[in-house]
Structures are given as structure tokens and as C-alpha cells.
Symmetry: C2
Subunit: 219 residues, 2 copies
Amino acid sequence: MKAFIFDFDGTLVDSVYAHTLAWQEALAASGMSCPAWQIHRRIGLSGTLLVMAVAREHGRTLDDDEIKRLDKRHSKNFRALAPECPPLPGAVALLAHLKKAKIAHGIATSGKRNEIKGALKSLSLSSDAIIVDGNMVREVKPEPDLFLLCQKRLKVARADCLVVGDAVWDIHAARRSGILSVGLLSGGFGEQELYNAGAMRVYKDTRALHEGIEELGFE
Amino acid sequence: MKAFIFDFDGTLVDSVYAHTLAWQEALAASGMSCPAWQIHRRIGLSGTLLVMAVAREHGRTLDDDEIKRLDKRHSKNFRALAPECPPLPGAVALLAHLKKAKIAHGIATSGKRNEIKGALKSLSLSSDAIIVDGNMVREVKPEPDLFLLCQKRLKVARADCLVVGDAVWDIHAARRSGILSVGLLSGGFGEQELYNAGAMRVYKDTRALHEGIEELGFE
């Protein structure tokens, strides 16, 4: 194993629950109420897919303008709910270790770079770190595009990369890209959900992964 | 089967995610940061147990006054985040059915009656419904006291009661009380977590439970 590809929300930063309530309010304001847990389980998908799924349950189809308005309201809510969006336990130390040990690593997120720049800063990322965001690919998760672009930029063969994510959609996208993956509980998915999706191992968080990094084939 | 005993938050009303962020802010303001998912997994415990667990992780012990102050801040945050706290899908219809079919039912919640009265109202409960809250017992979940008191008030033998809850703590408290239980996904726990805890069946929400009510032995 030679390179890590990290998801962002729920994997490196503690943002999933704020995203959940931010989407719930935006959707409810447009007449599409949805229980929080069903939004939670869709975080990590593109915002468009999330909104389309809820709209379908309400027998509605949305045009691009409506989807954009919802996304804007969600972003505003999110900034109010989580102005800081701190790193999850172990994330900063793991990234610092990878930098020191010269292990290639990147971030591949469905989010938009300008919306996550504050949170990115809190991770004290290496300047070599590759960051691939939702603006750089045609389709985000659960499509494999983000992970494949990140892998290409890392210049490491797929067989030597490992995806780390907290959502079923990370694991699905990893499988579709032909890259192995491990799951983290730090986004609030259940352990068995991640194993069922295809994670080869599930850790509590990046701290626990860091403690067992040799078991994953990294030296 | 003759009687249902329902948990409240995450089972009948959509409040778990707001409780999670409300506790997270209150704890962080007291210098005890904790990832949202670890708070989420402790919702349904008494507030005191939740706070004590996080304090222990920070190497701190809290006196009663500090715990009360945290609880107060949590309550204030919660009201701001979830002023309405709507019923979960299927809850109102299931409770209306039980009333019409004369199936005994009650609610047993770790919360305090005066804090949940708005949300209780939204459920259009039968005036016969038994409600047992955290003020009425010495120990709340995962202790069995709440369920046992509710069962006594329902005047139905334990073997003929069924607990319905969304958290591992509901299932544990049910087992300790000698009452069988089913789990719901509507609080955001994973299915396997609830089965592992001892749920005899796991449904998506009260709507799905209602659709299969005969399978549980209710007529």
C-alpha cells in the first residue's frame, strides 16, 4: 500500500450532523419534510442526488434553479450551525504522520473547494496533498470519478491506494473505482452498514486507523 | 401481545439530531469537545450519564451544579434548534390506530414532561395513554425503572408488553426489565447495532411497524 485517499466530511472533519440539520431545514422550507436520519444516511452523496431523492418521495421533480436555491439555503444554514467545523480526533496527527513518513495522500470530496476552505485549513495539510473536489469532475459519489481523479494525481496504481470514508457512498464509489476501502464510524453510520457496503475493515476514527496503520500494509 | 411501551425521542418524534448538536455545543462551551457521532450514540441515556461519560474522557469529574448548568444550556440550544420537533412518519397514525383498536399503550422517556409537552401535543395522544417520564423514577435508561413503571400503570403482564425504541439503551433497558423489544431506525442507529443489543425485530419507523403489526402478535 502506498497512498491514502480520504473522504472529507465525517472522515476528517466533524460536519455530518450539521449538514444533516442544514439540509433538513432547507428541504422543509420548500415543503419537503424529511426525517433527519434519512438525510443523515444520504450525506456524502452529491447535494443534487440528495435533494432529488427527497423530492421523489414527495412526488415532485425539481428544476435546476430550485436545486440551486435549496443548495444555497443549505450552505447558509450550515455556516450558521457549524462556523468552525473542527477536525475529527486523530485527523491532524494522521495527516502530519503521512507527511513526515512521505506516504502519498489526497482528499476526494463531493463538496466544493470554496465551501470547505476554512475546514481544510484546520487540518494543517501538507502542501503536497492532492485535493479533488466536486467542481473537478462530472459526477460525484457514488460515482467513482472523484477517487479515480485523485488516484491519477497521486500517480499511484489503484491496487496500491486505499480509500478511507465514513459513508456507504464512499465505499460504493471506491468499489466502482477498483480501489479497496476502509470505513470509519466518525460520520455516524453503523459498523455493519459499512462492512455490508464492502469496507475491508472498519475503524472508530482516524486515530484508531493511525494506531493500526501497519496492519493495512503501510510502512 | 397486549400493550406497547414506546420510547419518545427518535421513536415518536424527530428530535435526536437536534439533541446531538445541542449537547455538543453545551459540552464544547465547558471545554469538553466531543465528536457529534459519539454524542448521537449516547442520546436516550439520561443527560447525567451522557455528560459524565464525556467528562470522564476529558479526565474531569463534574459536580451536580455543573451537570445542571450543562443540562440547562443543552435545553436552551435544543429549543433554538428544534422549536417544533415534528412527529416521525407513521407515529400519529399508529397511536390513533391503537386508540381505536383499544390496544393499551404508553410512553416511557428519560426526558422531563415539561420539556416534551409541545412535542407530545403534536402526537394527538389518547387521554388514556400512560406517560412515564424521567422525573417519576430514580434511574432512567439503561436502567429498567421507566419501562417497569409504565408496564405497572398499563396493568398488563410483562410477557404481553412490547417495548419500541430507536436506541441501544432502550433495548438494553427492555431486556433488564424482562420485556421484549423491537428497534426502529428512525433515531439513526444502525440496524445491526439494534439486533446486537437484543431487538427481536428492527423496522424502519413506526409506519413500517404499523404495517406489520399482526406479525408482532397484536390483534
